[in-house]
Symmetry: C2
Subunit: 307 residues, 2 copies
Amino acid sequence: MAKLVFGHKNPDTDTICSALVYADLKGKLGENVEARRLGEVSKETEYALEFFKVDAPALLERLEDGAEVVLVDHNEFQQSADNIEHAKIVEVVDHHRVANFETKEPLYFRAEPVGCTATILNKMYKENNVELSKEMAGLLLSAIISDSLLLKSPTCTEEDVAAARELAEIAEVNLETYGLNMLKAGADLSDKSIVDLLTMDAKEFTMGDSKVEIAQINTVDLNAIYEKQGEIEAEINNIIEEKNLDLFLFVVTDILNNDSEVLALGNGQANVATGFNVNLENNRALLRGVVSRKKQIVTTLTDEYTK
Amino acid sequence: MAKLVFGHKNPDTDTICSALVYADLKGKLGENVEARRLGEVSKETEYALEFFKVDAPALLERLEDGAEVVLVDHNEFQQSADNIEHAKIVEVVDHHRVANFETKEPLYFRAEPVGCTATILNKMYKENNVELSKEMAGLLLSAIISDSLLLKSPTCTEEDVAAARELAEIAEVNLETYGLNMLKAGADLSDKSIVDLLTMDAKEFTMGDSKVEIAQINTVDLNAIYEKQGEIEAEINNIIEEKNLDLFLFVVTDILNNDSEVLALGNGQANVATGFNVNLENNRALLRGVVSRKKQIVTTLTDEYTK
């Protein structure tokens, strides 16, 4: 039986591309590994896959007991496949914090504090002396552009920048042009429902004893999103009740100006105000220079919830 | 402020040596890192340190809030320094399962399913093109010999064996001779009380709904230990009552023959007999070829308790 490699639920470009590329590397090293996805592919990811003519991985509904799996771009069980608790996790390659993760036996676990899983995979090709194809380089490049908002996010390290420049050459694209086109394709929200906006890139976190969900979308037009604030709030309140959340934070990131306008609902609203030192007006606040959920939002809120 | 690097509580040779050696590597890479220990150094470790003329690390009583730390040879918080929950863990190098571990931020986390942390550190010198000194090679070698009972434990992988042979050359020692001398130094129990023998390397496990404690010691003379069987049983019965255990298994491992003579007390005695397919005579049984608590004893008993 093939091992399955997959990233997190609500897959983003790094998660999809890293699963595909790591399956490619493992295959070239003689292992029987297949990539999977845990949800729908975004328009941004679709743009990258079409550009480099690679098929999306098959959808994984639920893991069998005892299935051998490789996790990329995540480790927290609540972000992983259903029934992950009863799988055999043989390896993890990730660039996030470690939490809510547990195995019965020793495993390969490689996490590095870089901006993107793809940057680690780029190194792993070199370490194993395996050459990257144009297509696989293109997918890794797309992942870095996505996670770093074209190298502008504070999560972006020098290693990510160097990898991106190197990969753009192998992929035979202009980094800036290709990158902006890909991000714009992802920021096209015209066909999304309110529920789509709130779930397409949502992650749940345990902070102290509280459950916090943070959904993020990228846009080139903040106002167009908040025209529907009333409907958005009604839907968020449904989600809070259904999942018994302490806080739902909706983060709308302006990819042209690199700011985020957030909408916060739930008992934990005050933690947003104190954590970011802002006043919420009409449940909203502009967070200047904030674009990274991981490095700027999760850390700040975790501090508030655990202090 | 220097970062602190340390292994687990009840330090063994891998934990002490890996902390010292990783501090050496980091120092050579220009980082300010100091090794610490979380408890008394064993006689086995003392032998290795004296042989290679390296000082033991200083004792760490409790971490300051926010201290930057590097964990080696463990990750589970209950095995780590007091106040680890409020430290900033920047890196982990380990060969155990991952459990009860959590960070707020991304970090370097490197775990591999090999027999010893030292085997991973040996690779890291090469990856960073740093030469190992005779002394540091000697410490890494000692750690591998300790964790693998001179390459005979079922936890020992081909990578550990290759590393040990390579390190013995750099350390300028004969692997077998040095290894047996070091293990014998650790098996000198002449100054230990009965309570010491039962607690110096004891771990408690939950199996099904039962509490099982397994204490292990190494010796070159099984009979010398069991001369005091009466006193040992009296003390074990105290521990069983105090902790409300279903089973206490005292494992005396003969490092010359690679067998273990076990003493089992408690209601769960029968699980030892059926699990290992032996008759307990006078509460004792010889388990041929059994030396690894993790890989041979815990697994067998867990199966008995959960079938």
